[in-house]
Symmetry: C2
Subunit: 203 residues, 2 copies
């Protein structure tokens, strides 16, 4: 298997960190793709990823997968332990619920905020709409405050152990620094959870 | 089990139609929630759904699930046949990939377009940003044209049979009519797939 990966980009990092948390980085060949150099827009790359998305996973049979969360699902099937997506129907659903809450309430709003304000994105995001960024900022600050409340009473986001939902939130906290915001410096429970989660992944 | 459902709202319909395609509507009590009457904003409802989302599934043990796609995952575990989310790691990942492409490239853009232009949404979506709607419209028209190409060569969206990805796209085609657009009237391959999918669900 081969994973086309862009380090530091939030969606590619979701698949990469999932594989790392499985302890299986050495089972997959990694090839870096530079989005800044527009390597994802070449014809050769579009044969692997029709919508120019990173990551792409090329399977042993030569077929390709895109969408970071779908690639995680594949990794979970191939490398079942440690379990990160749930063991039974209820646990699977609860982990997916939290993963989606983070994705839709936190990650997506940071993406709108970033794309519509960052100089780096000016050429790719045309026109940039500062009002859309401001609305996303208001929504995400309110939502993240509810995550801090949740983490006051829960060691991990979705279960009594580290799961994929923690990965998504950890990476989104890092992504937030691109708009000059560090929610894990602002909220005490998120701060403690952030250290716990980072230590778990780096162990 | 009990499902809190808002008919005609696209995300609640995802869980409801999934259950219908399983032939299991009679296994779950359905209670309707009127978003227009703000029934999802009451304190009683927020005890079930902290972010005021519809749908909510109340499990037999009294715990609750939100996020329509997570509720589908739970139904798949409880009612395995007909399979709608994939039988092996690769099929699961491919179906999820297409489901996410529809959700992120089609459904989300229609939602931005709708929320920022509809009179109905003026009170809930403040401020409405016509420029954000215009950008979403441009993106979604381009994306949906690629879906028409895909369906020229494929009977179903994600596999050699009807799956959850078809449900998400069918409902999003219907949702599009809220902004006065009917992609299934505009694109020949989507039109044929739309009739096939609708007939399959209604059978």
């Amino acid at each position: 298997m081969k994973l086309y990966h862009t380090p530091k980009a939030v969606n590619p990092e979701r698949s990469y960190t999932f594989l790392k948390a499985k302890g299986k980085l050495d089972a997959v060949e990694i090839e870096e793709v530079s989005i800044m150099k527009l390597e994802h827009r070449t014809d050769a790359y579009k044969k692997l990823s029709p919508y120019s998305q990173v990551p792409v996973l090329v399977l042993d049979d030569g077929s390709t997968l895109t969408e970071s969360r779908a690639i995680c699902t594949y990794f979970e099937g191939r490398f079942p332990e440690p379990n990160l997506l749930g063991r039974d129907p209820k646990e699977k659903a609860v982990i997916e619920m939290w993963d989606r809450r983070i994705e839709l309430g936190f990650l997506s709003n940071i993406a709108v905020w970033f794309r519509n304000t960052s100089q780096v994105m000016a050429a790719l995001e045309n026109p940039q709409l500062p009002e859309a960024a401001a609305k996303a900022e208001t929504q995400v600050r309110k939502f993240v405050a509810t995550l801090d409340e949740h983490l006051a009473a829960n060691e991990w986001l979705a279960a009594d152990r580290f799961t994929n939902a923690d990965i998504t939130m950890l990476l989104t906290c890092g992504f937030s620094s691109l708009v000059g915001w560090k929610p894990h410096k602002e909220h005490a429970n998120i701060a403690a959870w952030y250290q716990r989660t980072k230590a778990h992944i780096d162990q």
